[in-house]
Amino acid sequence: AQTVTQSQPEMSVQEAETVTLSCTYDTSENNYYLFWYKQPPSRQMILVIRQEAYKQQNATENRFSVNFQKAAKSFSLKISDSQLGDTAMYFCAFIVRTGNQFYFGTGTSLTVIP
């Protein structure tokens, strides 16, 4: 069975500091895609970053980067120079390359403190 676990229901960080959100997953497949989504108070789901499992290099998008450890099945999100606009719920997700279903974690609520 495919599962995604986000063990931190809530986190907070001071503005301009760095925070890491953790995510682990379980799959027996070898080819898949991993995602982090942000859901601000507007509730619009926004793609933050995407990683292809066959790529060794960690994905980076401006202040957002991931630490992808395939053997450990870990996919953490690092937010550098945190801004007030980063306050949101963050969801980790993955899909097997040959599959149809996306699997989401339960989310981490991040609050950036001014």
Binding site: Y33, R43, Q44, R50, E52, A93, R97, N100, Q101
Partner: protein, 113 residues
């Protein structure tokens, strides 16, 4: 570019009334389509997904149903709403060709009174 539309944005319906939420996608063909529900402060619950016209997979047995009458149209329905149907409904689409992409619509906030 690809765009996904959902309507209405907000809906207030009495218990026992019918429901129809519509989702359409532009800029792609033969996408996988999904309906998710999110209760306040909670995670995403997959309700239905579709890999093609007329092909619907249900993940959670309940009083909701889904239909895909056209390639880029996905409809969520109910004959009689329950209070527990209140929530935030998100439509999403994906294509795995080209590297795996998954996009959400703006959502519909449903309140059943």
């Amino acid at each position: 570019s690809q765009t996904i539309h959902q309507w209405p944005a907000t809906l207030v319906q009495p218990v026992g009334s019918p429901l129809s939420l519509e989702c359409t996608v532009e800029g792609t063909s033969n996408p996988n389509l999904y309906w998710y529900r999110q209760a306040a402060g909670r995670g995403l619950q997959l309700l239905f997904y579709s890999v093609g016209i007329g092909q619907i997979s249900s993940e959670v047995p309940q009083n909701l149903s889904a239909s895909r009458p056209q390639d880029r149209q996905f409809i969520l329905s109910s004959k009689k709403l329950l209070l527990s149907d209140s929530g935030f409904y998100l439509c999403a689409w994906s294509v795995l060709r080209g590297g795996g992409r998954f996009w959400f619509g703006p959502g519909t906030r449903l309140t059943v009174t």
